[in-house]
């Protein structure tokens, strides 16, 4: 059984992120739980947490991480502090994606993370960044700006994200604040290929597509679209959704086939916020199509555009209820207007 366990771990290591990788590690966890030591179960779960986060299976990551954290806390010699905190950071970053998880719980876990950072001699830079992303999620721009400043000024340490991710997040925040020029300046080293990581530059390219169109820089947007497309090799619905929105503006036929390609991933996603963004783009796509075009779309068995629309509203409601505002519901109309405006301009080109 130990051989099988290590085979699975090594096999998984070779795979790109995605469901296959997650499945192999889950099996390694099952084997370790049943036949091997708890430290082997811990190691497999840490790998699983990583793979699940990177493959968009946050729900699975939360489960395996919760187990790991509890195991770690029970140990007398806590050797794996950095890894545990690093994984904890990922988890905190994604909790708000589940509308059923209450605000207080999210705050509690951030606070727990903050304490653990200080206890282990780390600074708070990574914590501020999380608070910022949490505030952005709920569209609390003031709070986000507050933490953005703290984040920007705090010192780097072992818990800070890689410099590519940091720049990407910085540019993203500036884009959310409508500060395009600043954002573009920040992202320059990424576009020039000077720094990159697993998720960057794909995410950066994706974030800049619509803003570039708003700046009337269609050629640049087209170039980044192409690059982003070529690089997406594991499915993060975020990039997929940005590309879909871009295609709605510039090329409906491509938008439809892009939608067809990824709908199944959106349906399979357990993460409501990611499903929501994809569904929102999908609904806005449907609205651009006439009857005949709409019926040409290949839907998986039993799925209808109407269902997607209903679920989109339903998820938006759940988020707004938790966040106690109307950011998700009104965001639909905002996005609709934005795309229409851009489309009007683009078609005149």
């Amino acid at each position: 059984m130990r051989d099988r366990y290590y085979d699975l771990i090594y096999e998984a290591m070779d795979l790109p992120y995605g469901n296959s990788k997650v499945a192999l590690l889950e099996e390694a966890v099952r084997i370790a739980d049943a036949h091997l030591s708890s430290s082997e179960a811990y190691n497999a779960r840490m790998d699983l947490t990583n793979a699940a986060v990177m493959s968009g299976r946050i729900e699975k990551a939360i489960l395996s991480f919760a187990w790991c954290l509890s195991y770690y806390d029970k140990q007398e010699n806590r050797e794996d502090t950095h890894s545990i905190l690093w994984h904890y950071k990922w988890i905190c970053e994604n909790l708000h994606d589940f509308p059923e998880i209450k605000k207080e719980k999210i705050e509690e876990s951030l606070e727990d993370y903050r304490k653990r950072l200080l206890e282990n001699g780390y600074g708070l830079r990574s914590y501020y960044k999380l608070q910022r992303s949490n505030a952005l999620h709920a569209d609390d721009i003031e709070k986000a700006a507050h933490y953005f400043e703290l984040w920007d000024q705090a010192a780097h340490d072992g818990m800070t994200d890689c410099s590519a991710c940091e720049l990407d997040s910085k540019a993203y925040t500036l884009l959310r604040n409508q500060a395009f020029d600043q954002a573009y300046e920040v992202a320059k080293p990424i576009f020039a290929g000077q720094i990159s990581c697993q998720g960057v530059p794909q995410a950066t390219y994706a974030s800049f597509l619509l803003p570039l169109l708003e700046q009337k820089r269609a050629d640049e947007a087209a170039n980044y679209y192409q690059k982003c497309r070529e690089m997406i090799d594991y499915t993060f619905l975020y990039e997929v959704t940005c590309l879909l929105e871009y295609l709605i503006v510039v090329d409906l036929v491509k938008a439809v086939s892009w939608f067809e390609e990824f709908l199944k991933d959106a349906i399979a996603s357990f993460v409501p916020s990611r499903r929501f963004s994809f569904y929102r783009a999908s609904v806005l796509l449907f609205e651009q199509l006439n009857e005949q075009q709409l019926t040409s779309i290949q839907f998986p068995n039993g799925i209808t555009p109407e269902q997607i629309r209903v679920e989109m509203y339903e998820i938006a409601e759940r988020f707004d209820e938790r966040n106690q505002n109307d950011h998700f519901s009104t965001g639909i109309e905002k996005k609709r207007r934005k795309l229409q405006e851009l489309k009007g301009w683009y078609e005149k080109l």
């Binding site: 070779d14 296959s20 084997i31 739980d33 699975k60 939360i62 954290l69 059923e100 759940r318």
Partner: protein
């Protein structure tokens, strides 16, 4: 307003170069060769028929010295002042800059990594005067006119700095000259007291025929490559060969190419020049039109690089395409070894997909088969993207002569799902365990009466394991029971387990996260009415016996489906077996 210039601390600069910019001190040899080559190229501009050559010698001793000589353009006294006294200044800049390898003018400085003094003797073709320049790492230098006769060209003497003598060993110097300069366009000779022999090759792989290139690969890289694909990019002025590796490489493994810029080795580990899907080849490529980074070990990521990469990738694609006609045996061999890479490629590229899909292997309930063979089994292709489900299905599918493709591996699902787009006559159908269990024969009402008790007991036994019992008729008869589950059921098992084992905060987070979802399907254990053991169990009057049979069959079907047993289930196995043994002994007593 007054304007000032920064003062650059040369010592600091050299430290920077040696420790940070270059990955190894070896590069001083490259920089020396480069200066020589560029000087000769410059002379060629003026005298096209001129025979350039480079000569290298090593004087052993306590302070070993390297001597390198070229018969290139040389420098006049003025030029020496101008070029050798300013960092970043290079005599190669200007309108024809693209013909030279060096770009940074810092090349000579790298010599200070291994030496405390550079002595340079040079005579320009335009002058009769020989000039001697002597530079030190602190930035000071002297220039003197020398009376001795010298043919136009440049000679450099480099004496080893203490601690760096091993870089000056004869074998080391020869090896490095070969390493960097193997394909340089001018002959490089190494001379010692006995003789002088040429170090670099007469032909580069991209100038050879395919057979020559393969022979070269065998001899130089000690590898029996399957074939060599000629590579060409007009935009990048790139020429090269892509050797097809004779062994499988891990998917996503970074395959690096050996890349030359204007025939000087840039690096053996360039991974940006060929497309990432081409991990089954090793490239040996010369590029004239791409910009290396300052460390001269990689290329700048710019639009030109994208174009060149695509052009080179197209060469590999075209090669594979023409192989279908030209050498199907070789193609079969390549696919057999590199099918993962070709699958990646086919997923993205419809033309290649059409060509190769029939030849690509997949795992099925009948073992490994080519898609062509799978298509011959049935007009509809059945597949499952879940490894768990495939395991559950495979025995039953096989018994029913049903070919199911396991597409749990990377790209396989996409490849199968793409089939109808390429050939509308092909049907595909995704199956799951229910597809099969639904086809199992139902029991008659009379039979249902017989099994009522058995199923009731089975459900009680299986309840703690979140498993539901049912009974049907199915093939093969020898299979007493089939365990089926789905991802959702497995997920819920994990949720329950983790809630109990995690801390209070996370236990409540998990509770909230999963609160919205309703518990889905349970796992199922489907007994086979046609199986003799099941028949006997049904008929048995002994309730205890029925219970034990269910327990053991549950465990057995978990094992058959390769499910690792949990603690609880191991207990069940141990107790069940012991009780069965006791039963058997009691019966015999």
């Amino acid at each position: 307003m007054d304007q000032f210039h920064f003062k650059v601390n040369l010592k600091g600069m050299i430290d920077l170069l040696s420790n940070h910019l270059y990955s190894t001190p070896h590069v001083f040899i490259r920089e020396l060769l480069q200066n020589a080559v560029d000087a000769i190229t410059a002379r060629h501009k003026v005298e096209p028929a001129y025979d350039g050559k480079i000569n290298v010698e090593v004087y052993a001793g306590e302070n070993p010295t390297i001597f390198i000589e070229d018969n290139g353009l040389g420098l006049s006294e003025e030029e020496v002042h101008y070029f050798l006294s300013q960092i970043g200044q290079t005599s190669k800049r200007g309108e024809d800059g693209d013909d030279y390898i060096g770009r940074f003018g810092v090349g000579l400085l790298s010599c200070f990594i291994v030496s405390d003094e550079i002595v340079l003797l040079t005579r320009s073709v335009k002058s009769e005067q020989t000039v001697k320049w002597r530079g030190k790492p602190d930035g000071s230098y002297t220039i003197e006119k020398v009376d001795s006769e010298m043919r136009p060209g440049t000679r450099i003497y480099l004496q080893a700095k203490s601690g760096y003598e091993h870089y000056f060993r004869v074998d080391q110097v020869k090896q490095l000259c070969e390493y960097y300069g193997e394909f340089l366009p001018y002959p490089i000779h190494f001379s010692d007291t006995r003789d002088s022999h040429r170090l670099n090759a007469e032909l580069a792989p991209w100038e050879m025929t395919i057979d020559q290139a393969l022979a070269y690969g065998r001899q130089r890289y000690e590898e029996d490559y399957l074939d060599a694909i000629p590579l060409r990019s007009t935009v990048g002025e790139a020429h090269g060969v892509a050797y097809i590796l004779p062994y499988a490489v891990r998917i996503n493994a970074k395959q690096t190419s050996r890349v030359y810029v204007k025939q000087m080795l840039l690096s053996e580990k360039v991974d940006k020049l060929l497309p990432s899907w081409s991990f089954f080849v090793k490239g040996v490529i010369n590029v004239n039109q791409l910009r290396p980074t300052a460390s001269r070990e990689e290329f700048y990521e710019d639009p030109l690089l994208d174009v060149v990469r695509n052009e080179l990738g197209d060469c590999i694609k075209r090669y594979l395409v023409q192989l279908v006609e030209k050498d199907p045996d070789l193609l079969a061999k390549i696919i057999q070894i590199h099918y993962e890479s070709i699958k990646t490629l086919a997923k993205e590229d419809n033309e290649l997909y059409r060509l190769f899909i029939d030849w690509l292997p997949f795992e099925t309930s009948f073992g490994r088969m080519k898609l062509k063979e799978i298509r011959e089994q049935s007009p509809t292709i059945f597949y499952t993207p879940s490894l768990d489900e495939f395991r559950q299905i495979t025995q039953v599918a096989k018994a029913q002569s049903f070919c199911v493709v396991n597409t749990a591996y990377v790209h396989d699902t996409e490849l199968i799902e793409k089939l109808p787009m390429i050939d509308p006559t092909i049907q595909i159908k995704r199956v799951n365990p229910t597809t099969f269990t639904d086809q199992f024969m139902e029991l008659s009402f009379e039979e249902r009466g017989h099994v009522y008790d058995f199923i009731r007991i089975a459900n009680i036994v299986l309840q703690p394991y979140l498993c539901k019992a049912e009974i049907k008729k199915f093939n093969p008869d020898e299979l007493p029971a089939l365990y089926t589950t789905n991802e959702e059921a497995l997920f819920w098992r994990t949720v329950e387990q983790t809630k109990e084992e995690s801390n209070e905060l996370f236990s409540s987070i998990i509770g909230q996260m999963s609160g919205h979802q309703t518990v889905g399907q349970l796992a199922q254990l489907c007994f086979n009415y046609q199986n003799p053991i099941i028949q006997r169990a049904i008929k048995s009057e002994d309730e205890e016996m029925k219970r034990m049979i269910v327990e053991v069959l549950y465990i057995q079907s978990l094992l058959l489906g390769h499910y690792p047993l949990r603690q609880q289930e191991l207990h069940l196995l141990n107790n069940g077996l012991i009780r069965l043994i006791e039963k058997g002994m009691d019966a015999n007593a």
